[in-house]
């Protein structure tokens, strides 16, 4: 029962998302950014292919997150605002099934988009170097783990806030997530005391999205410890599950006035 409901909602969400023009606009800009990395490489000294890979992978990560945020924050809110949720919740469906369906529908959309961007990027690298690089695929997989978490956050905010505010909150989460590692570095430099404890607590509580960033290792052919890869994957999945649980708890008792 549950799996079927979630599948039906997810399929409809996928249909909704792929009929949203914003998605294609972002895909266009992502493709442009990936191809522009080749031009950027011409202007640099050193290994041009490293620039192409670094800029290309960063573009995929940023545009993937933008897709997750801009579409994810509207998904639940639009259902409530447009009152389509009235007919839906009156059907024999649990509210968590609805939320999970929405989440998985968007994840499916993002997987398709990530694949499209990845193919463009891999094609460019293949044309330039004549070599198919498997490690790029690994970097893309970890971008996907990051998107699992960012999408869950976007949906959480979408449960109780307007799309504009939710987008700002989610973008804030994304930025904090990418810079929170510096808190850890700062904590090490501060003298022991309340300041150091506070920084330690903050860096433990705030999300660390740099866990998913293995671009440097991939671009510069550095070793990638299996332990780190396993930790990052588990971190993404568990954090996303935690955020989704929060979203369900908020959504479960909500009145649709």
């Amino acid at each position: 029962m549950t799996a079927r409901m979630v599948k039906v909602i997810a399929a409809n969400t996928f249909k909704e998302a792929v009929r949203d023009r914003v998605l294609y606009l972002l895909l266009f800009f992502a493709a442009a950014a990936i191809l522009l990395s080749r031009v950027l490489a011409l202007l640099t000294v050193g290994d041009r292919m490293k620039i192409v890979k670094d800029v290309g992978l960063s573009a995929i990560s940023i545009f993937g997150a933008l897709m997750a945020i801009l579409i994810g924050t509207g998904l639940v809110y639009k259902e409530i605002e447009k009152r389509t949720i009235f007919t839906l919740i009156s059907k024999p469906i649990h509210r968590f099934e609805f939320l999970l369906g929405k989440y998985l529908g968007l994840i499916l959309t993002l997987a398709v988009m990530l694949t499209s961007m990845g193919l463009i990027f891999l094609g460019l690298v293949l044309v330039e170097t004549g070599v198919f690089e498997g490690r790029i695929l690994l970097a893309l997989v970890y971008v996907f783990f990051e998107l699992l978490l960012v999408t869950a956050v976007a949906i959480l905010f979408s449960c109780f806030s307007t799309p504009i505010l939710s987008s700002l909150f989610s973008l804030g989460f994304y930025l904090i997530g990418h810079f929170s590692w510096s808190l850890e570095a700062l904590a090490k430099k501060v003298r022991p005391g309340p300041g150091r404890t506070l920084l330690g607590v903050l860096s433990a509580v705030l999300p660390d999205l740099e866990n998913f960033n293995i671009r440097t290792e991939v671009v510069h052919a550095l070793p990638l410890p299996a332990a780190h890869l396993a930790y990052a994957a588990a971190y993404g999945i568990l954090y996303a599950a935690f955020v989704l649980t929060l979203a369900v708890l908020i959504f479960r008792r909500r009145d649709f006035v």
């Binding site: 009235f86 007919t87 839906l88 059907k91 024999p92 469906i93």
Partner: protein, 305 residues
């Protein structure tokens, strides 16, 4: 007949604004809907009709009270599987076509693809939307959305159909068509619960009604019991007799194109009026006894509030 929907002591308060201000919308309402009837839920705008319906369907949570649907608690998915719902001013996924839209709801009820295909074809025919089946809902007019919304409410062949203001915003022909469909549903043995503030519609089709005013049910029961059959007055349209001569027999209301509308409260005076018209060689154009209508009852209840 057994009750398909029972609402007992339902209360709901909303908090609004930055500094929350509490507003009591439902003040402990109770009613029950029997199987196979058309039950009208009447009330002026803001009386709490939609809030009651949303409580019944699990869209909002009541502060107090008990709701039973098909003999089970109302939030039980098995109860919800027996219900079809058309909201007021329906909004649907406008990126879908009518066929895709109905198919989506069919899937939520776990209907097999073949069953869905058959039901969708039948429902599109019922609501006369076969021509527009493959156009996206974005291009639909309000009346078309109402029809396809009704089809959506019937996709699971529900025992109870809940319609919130189903006739609002429709032209007279559209209203008649929806009324006919509602009557057909009753003939098929389904129960219909409909809310409306358009009294004529309720009067024409409902078996029983409940009148809700400011969150309280002021009256409920069979229409025939609520509305008295007693003649309140008789309206006679006549010509050929001066208003002054009629004043003693009744209340002359208007005179247009030589015709006078006379309101006679005392039935015994009607023969005298007819006699007078015959004497003056005038004519009687119409004679209409007026019994109490639902509107009279409704206005009488709402006004003192």
């Amino acid at each position: 007949m057994s009750a398909i929907l029972t609402v007992d002591g339902l209360k709901k308060t909303y908090s609004q604004g930055f500094i929350p201000k509490r507003r009591e919308v439902l003040k402990g309402i109770s009613f029950s809907v029997s199987e196979g009837e058309i039950f009208g839920f009447l009330g002026p705008n803001g009386a709490g009709k939609t809030t009651t319906i949303k409580c019944v369907l699990g869209l909002i949570f009541p502060d107090a009270g008990r709701i039973e649907l098909c003999g089970r608690p109302h939030l039980d998915p098995r109860s919800k599987a027996e219900v079809g719902f058309l909201p007021e001013n329906p909004y649907f996924y406008d990126y879908l076509t009518a066929r895709e839209f109905l198919d989506f709801y069919g899937q939520l009820f776990g209907l097999a693809a073949r069953v869905r295909r058959e039901r969708i074809a039948g429902l599109l025919k019922l609501v006369d939307m076969e021509r527009a089946a493959d156009i996206s809902l974005r291009k639909y007019s309000r009346g078309m959305l109402q029809r396809v919304g009704l089809a959506q409410a019937l996709i699971n062949e529900p025992s109870l159909v809940v319609l919130d203001e189903p006739l609002g915003g429709l032209d007279p022909l559209g209203r008649k068509e929806i009324r006919d469909i509602i009557l057909r549903l009753r003939a098929e043995g389904k129960t219909v619960f409909l809310s409306s503030h358009i009294l004529q519609d309720i009067e024409m089709i409902c078996d029983r009604v409940a009148i809700l005013v400011e969150g309280k049910i002021l009256s409920q029961g069979r229409l025939a019991d609520l509305v008295s059959e007693k003649i309140l007055f008789t309206e006679i349209v006549l010509s050929g007799v001066g208003e002054r001569d009629l004043a003693a027999l009744g209340e002359p209301l208007s005179a247009q194109a030589g015709r006078t509308l006379l309101k006679v409260y005392d039935e015994a005076r009607i023969p005298a009026v007819l006699e007078l018209v015959r004497d003056r060689k005038g004519s009687v154009h119409s004679l209409l006894p007026r019994t109490q209508t639902l509107e009279d009852l409704f206005v009488g209840m709402v006004r003192p509030q």
